[in-house]
């Protein structure tokens, strides 16, 4: 009788242990999945941030071309880009408020083939995402448009 009772107690304990182990594994699995999902959301947010930085850049009057103001699409002036390479570095702190930790480059893909490095600030960040926006680059002296692209590397993480 005593042995039967003892067996019953051990069986109950075993079932409880199995119960809590299943519960624990389920909880660990769920939190891991949530963690992966959160990291992916964070990466997507950082990717969108690089596009946001590029869109801020497209609205800077110090880069916009002065022809075709009513036309759609983004247009930068070639000679303003040349000047901006230096002037943005000179006023680095002001532009840091807009661009944060990022590298910004404008590439002329069909005209001069020149690359304009406008802003560089990686800081102590280790990861990055990259965004691209196609633009027109206008040469006001030759009155010609070329196909360009804004490339923004947005840094995050430590």
């Amino acid at each position: 009788m005593k042995k039967k009772a003892q067996l019953k107690i051990w069986t109950t304990i075993a079932i409880l242990i199995v119960f809590f182990v299943i519960l624990m594994f389920g909880f660990i699995f769920y939190t891991q999945v949530e963690k992966i999902s959160f990291e992916r959301t964070q990466r997507e947010a950082e990717a969108r941030r690089s596009i946001d930085v590029a869109q801020v850049l497209t609205n800077l009057p110090e880069l916009q071309c002065s022809v075709g103001a009513v036309e759609r699409g983004i247009c930068f002036d070639y000679y303003k880009l040349e000047v901006a390479e230096e002037s943005i570095n000179d006023e680095w702190l002001y532009y840091y408020g807009m661009f944060g930790y990022s590298d910004i480059e404008v590439k002329d893909l069909s005209g001069s083939g020149k690359n304009f490095t406008l802003y560089e600030n990686q800081g102590d960040k280790t990861s990055y995402t990259t965004g691209f926006i196609p633009i027109s680059i206008y040469d006001p002296i030759e009155r010609l448009f070329s196909f360009g692209v804004i490339k923004v590397k947005s840094y995050y993480g430590q």
Partner: protein
């Protein structure tokens, strides 16, 4: 004993239910990605059409219009159609191909569906098209699809 078994089943069903609610019912809608892809298609097409080329400094828009109407523009040994196709391909190789974006560019008229076709979206999901009609007598239209 039986109650313990029932409790285990209830716990497992609750966990399964949590997963279904979290990943199926409450799945976030990616509005910004669709907007960004459409913006990419529109910005690319707008910049492309405005681009001047080495063919008498004609822009791609004018080359396409000449191509659609069998116009007089010649680019050395090439016709406006061949030159425009080559330029557009080159620009896309340096941009959309480099960014690993799949796309399909089509210039068509009401008499000819595939005047110029570059890229393909076979087996991919079309995200958002950018469409630009150009003023020719045969209703030239250029379309850029970004797909994934």
């Amino acid at each position: 004993m039986e109650i313990m078994g029932l409790a285990v089943i209830i716990i497992l069903l609750t966990l399964a239910g949590l997963f279904v609610v979290r990943f199926v019912i409450l799945k976030p809608v990616q509005v910004k990605d669709t907007y960004t892809m459409k913006s990419l298609a529109t910005d690319t097409l707008t910049a492309l059409l405005r681009t001047n080329t080495g063919c008498n400094d004609e822009n791609i828009r004018d080359l396409l219009m000449d191509c659609a109407t069998n116009g007089p523009i010649r680019c050395g040994a090439d016709s406006s159609c061949d030159y425009a196709r080559a330029e557009i391909t080159r620009i896309f190789e340096n941009s959309l191909d480099e960014w690993k974006k799949r796309y399909r560019f089509v210039a068509s008229t009401n008499t000819y569906d595939g005047l110029i076709v570059i890229g393909n979206c076979t087996g991919a999901t079309l995200v958002e098209p950018a469409i630009q009609p150009l003023p020719t007598y045969n209703n030239l239209q250029v379309r850029l699809d970004i797909c994934e």
